[in-house]
Symmetry: C2
């Protein structure tokens, strides 16, 4: 018998590990140092223009713009045009849903391990 078959023994799997892959884009948006650092600058809650955010960014304004678009599409920031500038604001709620997700995942993992333990001790 192979190792794999041995592991597929009759361990109960009540709640069958359904984790939504939906949040991938949000994780992807956070998976870039430049974007994380942009979020950092927005972390004080005040809206910032693109030019402002580009000031000490060592990359071009256009690059910053692209990153902001990614962040906005992922729902991590919002933008509003005010006069000739576009002001970006951090969306706090987006983090909440992300934390919910991680909570769900780790809770599910705990449950699975608990079931596994119960099975072994039976």
């Amino acid at each position: 018998m192979s190792n794999a078959e041995m592991q597929n023994a009759d361990i109960p799997n009540a709640a069958p590990t359904i984790i939504d892959t939906g949040p991938a884009p949000i994780f992807a948006a956070l998976g870039d140092r430049t974007r994380l650092s942009l979020l950092t600058k927005l972390g004080d809650g005040r809206p910032r223009s693109i030019a402002d955010l580009s000031l000490d960014a060592e990359i071009t304004r256009q690059a910053v713009t692209k990153h902001l678009q990614v962040l906005e599409q992922a729902g991590l920031v919002t933008s509003a045009r005010v006069g000739r500038e576009s002001q970006f604001t951090f969306r706090r709620e987006s983090l909440d849903s992300l934390m919910d997700y991680l909570d769900r995942v780790s809770r599910q993992w705990d449950d699975a391990l608990e079931r596994l333990r119960a099975f072994v001790e039976k």
Copy 2:
């Protein structure tokens, strides 16, 4: 006076928004549906071989291997060679550090908003 200058008024900024950009690679590793779904399969806590994980994966075993390497490098899974197969296991602790990070960020945001509010009411 420009909008930007107007916003840069004397709002206190005590803890100056230092968010580490270090976790970017972990977010990046999570920022892919295929990898999230691999993690899902590992979510029951049992080690799985590459072949096993490739079974209903609709992509090649080699592709799965690459994804697993990404996940391992990000610290989300560990691997151990057992006989002729490589067994991968979900690392639960990695989620904890990620949740810590998100907690820090959102707490920092709350603090900043609190400071802002106090300033306005003064």
